[in-house]
Structures are given as structure tokens and as C-alpha cells.
Symmetry: D3
Subunit: 187 residues, 6 copies
């Protein structure tokens, strides 16, 4: 899997969660995960989470660290497991940067001091699976009382944080594939 | 997936990590995860981790909380992702019981204050995949300087802890399957 | 798999055979099978069976028991096997209610006294597989000489019949998954 | 899938349910289903059904029509669905030969007048899946009160019956694969 | 897999590379491969190769031997392996007809004397995978200096060549499936 | 996939075609392909090709270039496709070194001037798939009249040839995975 932290700001509208968006825009072919900073505004007709559509919950954040992953060799269930790992590693990295933070993972959501820090979804196209994971950088203006990386996690250098996150995640995904190749089958 | 915390002590020798051990011994058919307390001693010819065999690292623990899972509908790679989730939830549950604990996850290992708390492996049989996850309850006598649930995580009621762990894990695995069923495919 | 017999009448037009129709309308997430009574009229542009499109055979029935199933963990071939099982169990349930009935299964079709009782199709979306199975309740007005549950199978309480059908089918599908988990692999 | 009704009698001991038994003995490579007549005696250490082993239920029949299938392209769950189809077609063929027979299917078992006619199991090897399906031809001497093809189903020509059964089953399996190739995906 | 060499000329525009095109037009259900002669002109909005779209490389050939395959039981990666085999067999058949030809395969491309002979792509629909493989019959007018079957490979009877190609390919694909069914698993 | 041309001679007896042989002996974890030179003598009880066992055809070659591949993410059918690609690339590399050679591929066999150059098999373990591909370096003493790399293909530096072969094959396998990630799905 290739990783890239994108320099320019990009507004996340949900349209980025589509097949080959990474390849078409950043010329990275194959499994890839990219991060970018930008406003996040997903209206209902671009939402893939039908639960949110039913509950009429559009997504808004003034400034978010957005992560998009596209895989060409995972099932959707495996991709949801990957999503949970990505969320877990984010929590662990925030704890490493700030050991006293009170951060809780609940499924694919992160909370700091009971306020929601993140949004996430995993879905499937005809040829691939995709993950979006968004972390508030500035939480003012969010629909519900929210936490953010700046004020609640005390992350000062977002791009450095993103770089370490993508690298740590990529290393563990590789390690997981190797872990499946080093064991004797049992009878 | 059915869950069971077994009352009687069982010594873990590696032979328990074999197909239908749960079904044959506890009459639970299908996907299941069980926990039991017991000494842990796996000699080289029962080890499934070839890396440990190459490195000549047998496993010993005087008293361990052992967890065995058998799945009949997951690939080995997906099972390693499940293993990482089980380890993650264990860390989170220890943090919940004891917010000031210094616990770190590294792949499928847990460390408290830099001392190793756990061992784990995932493997495959002809019809299933299997996980073993062992957590020291008393760490004296371990090969390397080790942490344990009693002294380092301050867990006093191991069976209660095991019950909550299996239940939380089972809930999240169910939630992951549902998460894969509530999203619109993208084109 | 959850089951539901829907109280209100719904006209089946083919648009119901689409991903998340059950979830969006009845708030059932995950694998599910539902039954409802209603007129059935599928014009060519909503048909998924290309054979029927080629043969220019639209589907009409004045009153039908319609069954829709959506799975998120089966291949299309496995779903066709499930469809054949659903048709088989329907035949067996009609025989149980009425031992002297002359009912024949031919693939995914049922015939009573040589007249066609049912229509069925299985297909795939990006994230799921789907089955439609329709049984005439009143056959007058059908394109070809048809049998129906009321006059030919002598089923008086359609909803009770539907409830037992969905339950029996769900039990056997669960039993099949268990059957795959209780056997020793062979070498 | 190739089909063969074997002329010579073969005692079924459970050892026939192993990979490439058909290929090694009858030189049929690839997916195949064969039928043969013979005594059936499976002792506990050759049984693959762990449920039977736990319940200590060895299998005996003085004279059985035995069917063995080996597939190289199906999962174990799909193979259990195939097994249920094979059992269903057997019931339907007995009904066709003898419309007044009182025959009931319960999972992978057939009963005539409440007496058990058949035994069956599906399992997996490293490279294939396998089915055994045995129908009593003469039921005297069976462990439980049993039905048989001769006296209860009134099948007089067992080989002719077997030939039609294998052919009908093979045709429907082919038809099922085609059914999965003639439908438009839905969005 | 069924094979067909179509008599009438058909212009290849990219629209033929869609699910059930073979079934709808030639009434062949299931896995199939067909060949036809015709002009080839694929503009950017019908191209499935995003690399070509990014590079703005529409495809044109005055007269091409076009081959379309649709599979209902292969993954996309396996289908790319099948594509490479189809290209390989084409090279071998040209060598057989003309042993002194200087023909080179590079991935899914063929070159004669350094000039490009062919275009190819493999893709996926919701229910199937598809291959297009086009060989220039007359190369004048092609965008880049091209080779063709007539002048460079000295194939005089294109339909005979196509018939032998489809047959040889079909035989090897069948042989590959058999090869996977004749080996003992290893432990 | 990692590649390695091993310096020391190793006799190939068939026991090398077993899971983790590469990992245990050369400390390469995960997908890998290695080459080594050595005598080849496989007696019947180490053969995995049941066809050869049935035909009583043990394998012998005085000096062979042996290639062993182990994959942890391919089905057996996909592995046979990989085997055919490996054989194809070997042929192409021999042609590149020696354009006038008369070399023919027939399935997984290579022939020079009608004499057999190679042996090959692909099989499966519980956790992986494996390929053996052996090319005669010196053909005297072979059971049937054989070709060899030295006298018939005029390859003088076997290790250089092996290095280029493994590298070219590895590149194309990577390219195939990428090819499956650069195409738009079709509807």
C-alpha cells in the first residue's frame, strides 16, 4: 500500500470516496491511503451510510484531517476490520503524543472527554473497497458538540501526525499479512 | 459467535489450538470463543508460530487467562485482523478498569510499563481458523520479565474481566458484520 | 437472518429487488427475509432476468405472496442454491398442509397439476445478493394458465403460511452453517 | 461434473470419503459424483461427523446405495447446500416413481413413514469438498428402525434409479451455475 | 466456456465490453468467448482503462480481430492471468504458423519487429469479469506505428486463425481447472 | 514476493514442496520464489501429482534448475495460472537468449526440438499454495529423451538466467495485480 500526505487543502464532500479517486488525482496505482486537510461537508445524496441517511444526519466540520483508503484485494468485512484498526492506531498515536488524554474508541468513533472527534465509513465499489476517516482539526461549527485534534488532543503539527499515522497503519497491515504466512496449519 | 468462560482450570499446552476442541469439550457448535484459567506451557513441537520455533522460544506462564476462538467463516488474514481487535479491546478494557495504567499494544502483543503481558497466535485448520490469546495472571517464572493482570493491570476478578472481554469483543464483531451491510455501494 | 411478515399490502414492481430496500423500509439491518402480499407487475425495464427480457415475458399476477431476501455474505451461486432451498421448503410446507396435492418443483419453479404457481429470481448488487420469490394467491389474470395458493394449494391463512415458511427456511439456513462447522476435515 | 454408476459392489467404510478416491479408482479427473451398492459400516475412527462421534453413533446398513461426490470449486457451506439439493432431488424422484409415498425431508435426512431412509455428511479436504449420501436398499440390521428403497420406496431397479438421480442432480447443478450468469446486477 | 467466431462484421466501440453483451446478442448463456472482425474505435468515455484515459489515448484500428470473453466464476486478478494466457497462446499460434516471425510479448501487449500488434484490457461488472483483446488485421491508420496479422504475422485466413485460437485457449483453461483437481494437498 | 537464487546445491526430492520450506531454510517470510541447482529425484511417495502416481512415473534428472514458489494469498486455480505464466516467461527468456531455438510450450511443459525440457506441478497446503518448476541443466540419465538448458537452450550461466527469470516473473505478477486496480468497473 502506498501512502501520501497531500499538501494542498481539499474540501471533502463525499465525492472523494469513489473508485480511483486517488489514482486519477495523485497518480498512485493500486492499494493506497492518502490524507488531506480541508472543510468537510457531505450532504445526504453523497452519503454512503444509509443509517445516516435514514436518520437525516448530514456531516459538517469546518476543518478536518481526512483520510481516504482504497483497496483492491479486500472484502468489505475485512475492510471494516481495517477501518477499526486505523481508528485504533489513531487513538494509540494520540495517547503516545499526549499520555494523559481521556480518549475512548467506540466502534469506528473516537471520543475525547465524551465529545466526538471523528467520523468514518467503509464501503465497496465494483472493483475495490474504500474507507473515509475524518478527524476534526477545528470543531467549532460541528452539528454536535465535538472534540478536535488541536484543542482536545493537543496535536500541533497535523501533517506530521498524519504522516506517522499512515506509516504506522501501513506497517501493521503489512505485518498482518506476514502474520498469516508464518504459521503452521493445524489438524 | 457463542461465548463461554469456563469454570475449571485447564493447562494450556498448545493442543487446545486445534479444530473442534471447543465443540468436543464444551458442546458448542459453530463460531465460538472461550476463556479459561490455567498454567501455560507450550513446547516447540506444539507451537504453530514458526518464527518462535526458528528462534527456539517455548512459551511458559505459571498462571494465565487463556482465550481460544474458532471461526468457520473467516480467512486467515481476516482472523489476524480479528486477533488485533481482540488485543485492542483487552487494552481498552484494562484502561477502563484502571485509567492510569501505562499499557501499549504492539501488533498482537500488550506491554505494561515495558513488560510483556500477553502471547498470541492465529492459525488455520482445514475447516476453520483459530486464535489463542494468553494473558499472564501471575508473571513470576516467565522466560522474560513479564507483566501480569494481577499486579500490573490491577484486575482483581479475572473471570468477571474475561466475561466482559468476550462479550465486548463479540458485540464488536457482530457490529462489524452489520457495518458491512448498511452502506450503499459506490460507482 | 431476521424474518418479517409485513402487514400492509405492497405492489411488487421489481423495484423492491434492490439493495437495502428491506433496511430502508423496515429498519432491519443485515441479512433479512420479508414477505408481503400484493399485486405483482414487473415491466421489462425492471426485470433482472435477461432471459425473460430476451423472450419479452413481463410478469403479472393479481395477488401474490412476495418474498424478498437480502444477504450480505453469500456469493451469487450460493444464493441460487439458497433460492432452490426456499422453493423446496415451500413445496414441502404445501405438502404438509395438504398431503394429496400434486406439486412438482422444476428448478426455481413450482407447478400444481401442471400449472405454474410461482416466479423467482436471484441477483447481485455491489454489496449483497437478493432473491425474489412470488407465489400466486389468486391466479386469474396471469399471462399463462396458473395455479394459486388459495384454489390449488388450499392454503387459507396466507400470513400464517408465510410466517411458517420464513421460519422454517431461516432454521435450515442456520442449520446448514452449523453443518459446515461440525465435521472433521479429511486428508 | 462427471457421473458414474459403478457396477461392482463396494463396502462403504468411510475411507471412500477422502480426496481423489474417485480419481484414483475410476480415473475420473475433476468434479465427479459416483454411485455404488454395498454394505455400509463406518466405525467411529473413520467418521467425519463429530456430532456422531460425540454421541457414539457408528453407522451400519446391510445394503446401501452409496453416493460420493467430490468438488474442486465449492466452499464447504456451498457443498452443504449442494447436499441438501441432492437429498431434495432424491425425495422428488421417489415421489415421481411412487406418488403415494409418505416421504419427508428433514435437513439432510429422508424419512418414509417416520422411519429413517438415509445418512449423509459433507466435509472438506485441503483441495476439495466431499459428500457422502447413503440410502438403505435393505434396512434389516440397521441400528434404528429404518426405511429402505426396496420395501418402503418400492424402487425395483436401484441402478436405474441411481442413474436418473445422478443425471437429474448434475443437470440442476449446471442449471444453477447458468442461473447465476443470466441476471443483470442491481444498483 | 463456449466459443464462437461470429460471421458478420461488428465495429468495436467499447460498448461491447459490458455484461451479457454475448448472451443478449448471440444467445450464449454462461462463460463464453467470441471473436469478430471489425473496425475498432473506442473514445475516451467508453474506455475502462483509466491509465489510457489519464494519458488521453483513444484506441483506433481500421480492421481488427476482436475477442470478447465473459466469465461468471473468476476474480478480476484471475481474469488478468487468463488475459495473459490468451495473449501468450496468440503469440504461440503466430509462431506455429510462421516460425521465423519476431514476436515479443510484453505483459498484455504483442509486438512484431518492435511494432505494436494488439490492445487488451480486463475488467469487472457486478456479476462477471470481461476481457477485450484486439489484434490489428490492417494496421494503416493506427495512432502509433503498428503491426498487423496480415502483413507482419502473415496470417491469411483470419477466421480460421480465430477458431484455432479460441479452441486452444478454451482447452488450456479447462486443463488448468483439471490441473487443480489432480494433486494431493501437502502438509 | 521476494526472490532468491540460492548458492549452494540442494537435491530436490519433493520434500521441498512443503509449506514454509522457504521460510524455515532461508528466513524469507511471506510470498517468495527461490531457485537452486541440484540433482532431482522424486520417488512415488513424495509425488503430489496423482496422475504421475497412477502412471507410476517417478521423476529423475541428474542436474536441474529447481524453482520453488510459495504464495499465501492465491487460490490453487490462480496458482496454476501463475505456473503457466512462469513457464511462459521461461520460454520467452530462452527465446531472447537464443532467437533461433525451437521451443514449444504445452501446458506446463517445455519442449526443445520435441524433447522435454522441464517438469512442473502446483499444489496447496492448509495455509498456502506451492509451485515446483524444474528445468534440466544436464539431461543425460533422464527417464525419457530430454532437452536441457546447457546443450539445447545454450544457456551458459544458469544462475544469471535464474536471476533474470525470477525477476521478470516477479515484475509481471506485480504488474498483473496493478492491472486489476486501474480499470473502471462496467455496468
Amino acid at each position: 500500500m502506498q501512502t501520501l500526505v497531500i499538501d494542498k487543502e481539499i474540501k471533502y464532500t463525499g465525492e472523494q470516496l469513489s473508485p480511483h479517486w486517488i489514482y486519477k488525482n495523485f497518480n498512485i496505482m493500486g492499494n493506497a491511503i492518502v490524507a488531506f486537510i480541508g472543510e468537510c461537508e457531505v450532504n445526504l445524496n453523497h452519503m454512503v451510510d444509509i443509517e445516516d441517511v435514514i436518520n437525516n444526519e448530514p456531516i459538517y466540520s469546518r476543518k478536518m484531517l481526512n483520510i481516504i483508503e482504497e483497496n483492491f484485494d479486500s472484502s468489505l468485512v475485512e475492510t471494516v476490520f481495517k477501518q477499526r484498526l486505523l481508528v485504533t492506531i489513531t487513538k494509540e498515536l494520540i495517547e503516545k503524543n499526549n499520555p494523559k488524554v481521556n480518549i475512548i474508541r467506540s466502534g469506528d468513533d473516537l471520543y475525547i472527554n465524551g465529545k466526538k472527534l471523528s467520523v468514518s465509513i467503509a464501503t465497496k465499489s465494483i472493483t475495490s473497497t474504500l474507507i473515509h476517516f475524518g478527524l476534526n482539526i477545528i470543531s467549532e461549527g460541528a452539528a454536535v458538540k465535538a472534540a478536535d485534534l488541536t484543542n482536545d488532543a493537543h496535536i500541533t503539527d497535523i501533517k506530521k501526525f498524519a504522516t506517522e499515522l499512515l506509516q504506522t497503519y501501513n506497517n501493521e497491515v503489512q505485518d498482518i499479512r506476514l502474520a498469516a504466512s508464518k504459521v503452521r496449519g493445524v489438524i
